[in-house]
């Protein structure tokens, strides 16, 4: 089963990804993040969906619905505007969920 990769983010952050074979979806307004994310996931073409951190936190609720499924993997990445640590926080949250408290990254 061959699938593709998508990235959703502001135009500044995603523009380079188109060149390396990732389908880039530009989302400059946070408000349209959820609908765009739904559009991207509905196609079921994508195994990996990267999102910039702002978009990721905006569409958090929709993303949580896909937690139990093997694909797609929805992964936050720092955008051009810098890193606000959502990725690391997410890892800590996994540890906390599994172990009961964050024993690794404190």
């Amino acid at each position: 089963m061959v699938k593709n990769i998508a990235i959703i983010g502001d135009s500044e952050s995603v523009k380079g990804f188109g060149a390396v074979g990732i389908d880039a979806f530009v989302c400059d307004e946070i408000e349209s993040a959820v609908s765009l994310f739904k559009k991207v996931t509905n196609q079921e073409r994508y195994a990996v969906i990267f999102m910039t951190e702002e978009i990721f936190s905006a569409a958090q609720r929709e993303i949580n619905k896909l937690t139990e499924m093997t694909v797609p993997a929805v992964i936050p990445l720092p955008g051009a505007r810098g890193n606000n640590g959502i990725g690391s926080k997410r890892l800590s949250a996994f540890v906390e969920q599994a172990v009961g408290s964050d024993i690794l990254f404190k």
């Binding site: 089963m1 061959v2 699938k3 593709n4 990769i5 952050s13 523009k15 380079g16 990804f17 188109g18 060149a19 390396v20 074979g21 990732i22 195994a47 990996v48 990267f50 937690t67 139990e68 093997t70 694909v71 993997a73 992964i75 990445l77 720092p78 051009a80 810098g82 890193n83 990725g87 690391s88 997410r90 890892l91 996994f94 540890v95 969920q97 599994a98 172990v99 009961g100 690794l104 990254f105």
Partner: protein
């Protein structure tokens, strides 16, 4: 701890004993599963953390490259250069089973056969900064896919560990004590019944003997 609402019979007790045995065995197996999952999860999540730090650093370098490129080129040329991509990175999705958790395995299948064929534009009107930017991004790509695979695995395993832990705890602290107490209650009740019927029999025996031999009359005379 509340006991179950059951009839105190021998039948019921042997049924409960069987259930307790099953519960104990299930508890042991689930505990083993949880421990092994936890071990693998911790390993994976530490690796994941390292990879994420690396990728985030590389990405910020990429972004710096792109900013350099946009500084020397006009926005229109930059955007149009990047617009028409020749290659479409596909990934082959397989799945791997780690302690009954299905985690994805991503294998990259690149559409363009030539490794060096990553630039979607001619070199005539673009700057070398853009080449740098695109090639640096291309180098991050395998790491990005690896990161996606790992983070998804961590996510799935964390959920499974939580579920297993709940099951283990409920067996350990609720189900098994409840079975034990109910069995104890039934056995006490049965013993109590036993004793009461025994005393009754002794009493009846006394009464019968007395009637047959008239002990009390003889004693008096």
């Amino acid at each position: 701890m509340a006991i179950m609402n059951v009839n105190p019979t021998r039948m019921q007790m042997s049924k409960l004993k069987k259930q307790l045995l099953t519960a104990r065995r299930g508890h042991k197996m689930l505990k083993d599963k949880r421990d092994e999952l936890m071990r693998q999860f911790i390993e994976l999540v530490q690796e994941n953390k390292k990879l994420r730090d690396k990728v985030e650093k590389e990405l910020s370098e990429c972004n710096a490259h792109f900013i350099n490129a946009s500084a020397v080129m006009s926005r229109q040329t930059l955007d149009s250069s990047l617009m028409s991509s020749k290659q479409q990175t596909g990934i082959d999705v397989k799945s791997k089973n780690i302690m009954s958790v299905d985690v994805p395995v991503f294998e990259t299948v690149s559409a363009s056969p030539d490794e060096g064929d990553i630039f979607p534009y001619g070199f005539a009107f673009t700057s070398f900064e853009l080449d740098d930017a695109v090639s640096s991004l291309n180098e991050v790509l395998p790491d990005l896919i690896k990161l996606a695979e790992m983070e998804k695995s961590c996510e799935l395993m964390a959920a499974e560990i939580e579920r297993t832990r709940r099951r283990v705890n409920s067996l350990e602290h609720v189900m098994i004590p409840r079975y034990e107490e109910t069995i104890k209650y039934i056995s006490m009740k049965l013993e109590e019944n036993d004793r009461s019927s025994r005393t009754r029999l002794m009493k009846v025996k006394d009464m019968l003997l007395e009637k047959a031999h008239n002990y009390s009359d003889k004693n008096e005379s």
